[in-house]
């Protein structure tokens, strides 16, 4: 489904991604792990088409289509979803309105009729319960005054509503307490399906106890330096990133943020 070949990207003239190679098939869950500053968010943003990042080399294709030729919104409509590490607020725009606009943009792209307000309300209420968000959040401004955990649940709710082909979850576990982690993980597991791929970006392995990945990759210094199965994550938990010869100040005093 997703194929990344020798991807180089830089931000403000500084090269961050230095030759990423990755193949993700439909139905698979891949975990991208790595210390802070290794380029995980950069990779996520580049896949979603953030223009703040410049792609200086390499290829990305989604189901054979060249992603690098597509605008952010086109990629989204083709099925790429990014759950943000730091979701931004849009004051005064209700979550409900925002989500319905998004869902209708996707529907229009697929040649389907738009969903009306009443129908969408019903659907959104169901999905909000799935991530344990009070439906009252639907009426509030997008992420406006949400706690860290509420923002993360809101991101997963959006993924569940938009039903993407490729979901990229950037540190969706950070800042969550044990209960919230369970809710979010259940949400992500509900997303798992044969025709969908999930890319889970995380610093810590604890999320992977709830969402068992098919493949684990370690990103360091802008390159994938090691790939393996589930056991690689466990090994990292036991031995830290130092085991792979990577310096990581954060792992020493790991608190789960």
């Amino acid at each position: 489904m997703l194929s990344i070949k020798n991807l180089h990207a830089s931000v403000e003239g500084k090269e961050i991604l230095k030759g990423i190679n990755l193949e993700v098939k439909a139905g698979e869950v891949h975990a991208i792990m790595g210390p802070n500053g290794s380029g995980k968010s950069t990779l996520s943003q580049v896949l979603a088409g953030n223009e703040a990042y410049e792609v200086t080399g390499g290829e990305i294709t989604l189901n054979g289509k060249n992603l690098l030729e597509q605008e952010t919104e086109e990629r989204a409509r083709e099925g790429i979803f990014l759950a943000f590490q730091y979701p931004v607020e849009i004051p005064g725009v209700s979550n409900l309105q925002f989500l319905r606009t998004a869902v209708n943009a996707m529907r229009t792209h697929r040649g389907e009729p738009e969903i009306n307000a009443a129908e969408f309300m019903k659907l959104a209420k169901e999905v909000s319960k799935q991530v344990d968000l009070d439906p009252a959040f639907l009426k509030r401004g997008v992420n406006e005054g949400f706690s860290g955990g509420e923002k993360k649940r809101n991101e997963i709710m959006q993924a569940l509503l938009l039903q993407p082909k490729l979901a990229i979850l950037d540190e969706t576990d950070s800042g969550l307490d044990i209960d919230a982690l369970k809710v979010v993980s259940d949400g992500v597991n509900a997303l798992r399906s044969e025709d969908r791929a999930i890319l889970m970006v995380t610093h810590y392995q604890r999320l992977l106890n709830h969402i068992v990945p098919d493949h684990v990759h370690v990103l360091a210094g802008g390159r994938i330096i090691k790939s393996g199965g589930r056991e690689l994550a466990l090994e990292l938990e036991e031995r830290g990133y130092g085991w792979l010869g990577i310096r990581d100040e954060d792992t020493a005093n790991e608190t789960g943020q």
Binding site: G92, V93, A105, G141
Partner: protein, 482 residues
Amino acid sequence: MATTDQEVNELIKKGYEHGFVTEIEADTFEPGLNEDVIARLSQIKGEPEWMLEWRLKAYRRWLEMDEPDWAHVGYPKIDYNAISYYSAPKRKEDMPQSLDEVDPELLKTYEKLGIPLHEREKLAGVAVDAVFDSVSVATTFKEPLAKAGVVFCSISEAIRDYPELVQKYLGSVVPQGDNFFAALNSAVFSDGTFVYVPKGVRCPMELSTYFRINAANTGQFERTLIIAEDSSYVSYLEGCTAPMRDENQLHAAVVELVALDDAQIKYSTVQNWYPGDENGKGGIYNFVTKRGACIGRNSKISWTQVETGSAVTWKYPSCVLRGENSVGEFYSVALTNNFQQADTGTKMVHLGKNTRSTIISKGISAGKSSNAYRGLVKFGPGAEGARNFTQCDSLLIGDRCAAHTFPYIESKNKSAIVEHEATTSKVSDEQMFLCRQRGIDPEQAVSMIVNGFCKEVFKELPMEFAVEAGKLLEVSLEGSVG
């Protein structure tokens, strides 16, 4: 809101009745302003002697005044002798004969606004109906209003039919010599709206008017007077549009509101005068004086405005809070794009005890436009326990536009309390990226973000206007992304 054909025709006939058939058919005055022009205008309108005297007094005042230059706007000097001060409906053969002859850009705008086809024809000046410049305001629903005792008519009719009321209140809130443009308007106002709500009456419907400037090189000077007697209520809406023209056109209106004991007036405006093209060519100069007097105890006046049009706007709807416990409100959205300039805000003058005012101003600048908020909150010595709350937010789109805030506070009473909050924000790249990542078009994203920013003001608008206002923003923001 609808101006029916029949009513339009009736209005024309009224003109005929007063015996100036040829004048009206011969459309527009030669450009220029002098006492003869004013006398001719007054004569065409069949006005009584006192009205002409009043106009001439204002004109003489105006001659001695200087055009204000303190606003944060710049425009070439206006030649007041190059403007025509009266334009009646054109003859049908001079108008476009069908929509095919109308500027397609203009039609696109109407279409986007969801204006029905027959209305579009009217707005575009197609010869199916009369279109009004100086001759104004076809009013709807006269019958149910008459039953309730509410008078809703053109100010010309009011001068004829309710001379005592007009003489008592015209110029009582905005005196002739209040400012340069008010003096000009007092001398040459061509028409406008008159509303009178008797004691204890709640006006049974929203009153609405569409104003429109059509003829080229014509100034529009409408005059509105609304009087709400004790314990009455009225909500009035005005919509404004103008066609696209390369020359600038002058619009200098005066609106006066009078609220007596326990009375409430709600005045809403959606203004979309032509703003000029994307290079800053053409557009309306909008120099307007709007003021309400809360004369009575517990009276209330609310101004709500959504302003997206005009090349240059100079406008400060104000409240004079004289009655004890009276309330003034100002809710405003002012959007500028391309080369538009707006200097707008409000004045809240607290004179009575325990008077309260609220100001919510949302300024949006895009393109190379400039948007200034200018507000004055004033407390007189008698304004014991008076309070004001001001919230003034600016939103910038892109990095070539500007927003300015000029808040002034004058207090002669120590017990008065003012709270002021101001913010400036940008439509951020992160917000845009979030929207686009969810599949939303950049233009739609900006419009959604801007609508969110304006929510507190939109909720003050009557329902159907709120929808229209949202669409207007969308149209006005076109081309501001990318």
